[in-house]
Symmetry: C2
Subunit: 104 residues, 2 copies
DNA sequence: ATATATTTGTCAAAAAATGACAAGTCTTAT
DNA sequence: ATAAGACTTGTCATTTTTTGACAAATATAT
């Protein structure tokens, strides 16, 4: 999946032939705001992932992975983080994991 | 640099034999809050990077890289993003870059 | 014990994200 | 042409999150 999360939602929505209004209702969301989400002008609220998974019968874990990779991808993009720096970031994440262990 | 940004600041501060209060003053910051930053309980505000670079005579670009990798590393850690997923995230960042080009 | 350094908790203010609604465009059908 | 439905955009109040500030507690050294 090499799209944004918003585009992904739109894809799902079109595949299932739902209008913005219809899907928005299922998600307890304003259709105008769903439009913004699909167009990348707002973020999808993580709290709605379970609902989204249910609507389209998706595996929640996989959907959350789509979401997480979108979020991190967005940050990588916005911060102009190069692959080299991303490697460093990964090492720092690793380091944080070791910190956590120490607390235990 | 495989530490958190907060630890890095503490390192710099100790190397230069400054107290929390002294460094906080230079950063226009409350010493209590600087303490929290060093201990990872708050984030360092990006707006203060130039000041921080100046105080310790660091290259701002490199410092910003330290900051960015810390931020992304934190997100990787918090979202339990595996290396495999991080690869996907990188591809999505790439994809966003292609989107940007299209707009031009 | 005193003084200094650091940590922790709390809370108001500032900033950012979200919900809601109005008004706009665009397309399609009649 | 216009009416209806689908989508987009702008705005603004509300909510949530982050930050600044201060007080008080703990720790460290003299």
């Amino acid at each position: 999946m090499k799209t944004t999360f918003g585009e992904y939602i739109r894809l799902l929505r079109n595949e299932n032939e739902l209008t913005l209004t219809q899907l928005a209702a299922k998600l307890n969301l304003d259709s105008a705001n769903l439009s913004k989400i699909e167009n990348g002008k707002r973020d999808f609220d993580e709290k709605r992932l379970p609902k989204l998974a249910k609507i389209f019968k998706l595996d929640l874990t996989e959907l959350r992975n789509e979401y997480v990779t979108d979020q991190i991808g967005k940050q990588i993009y916005e911060t102009n983080c190069t692959k080299q720096l991303l490697q460093v970031a990964e090492e720092k994440a690793e380091y944080r994991r070791t910190l956590k262990e120490k607390v235990i």
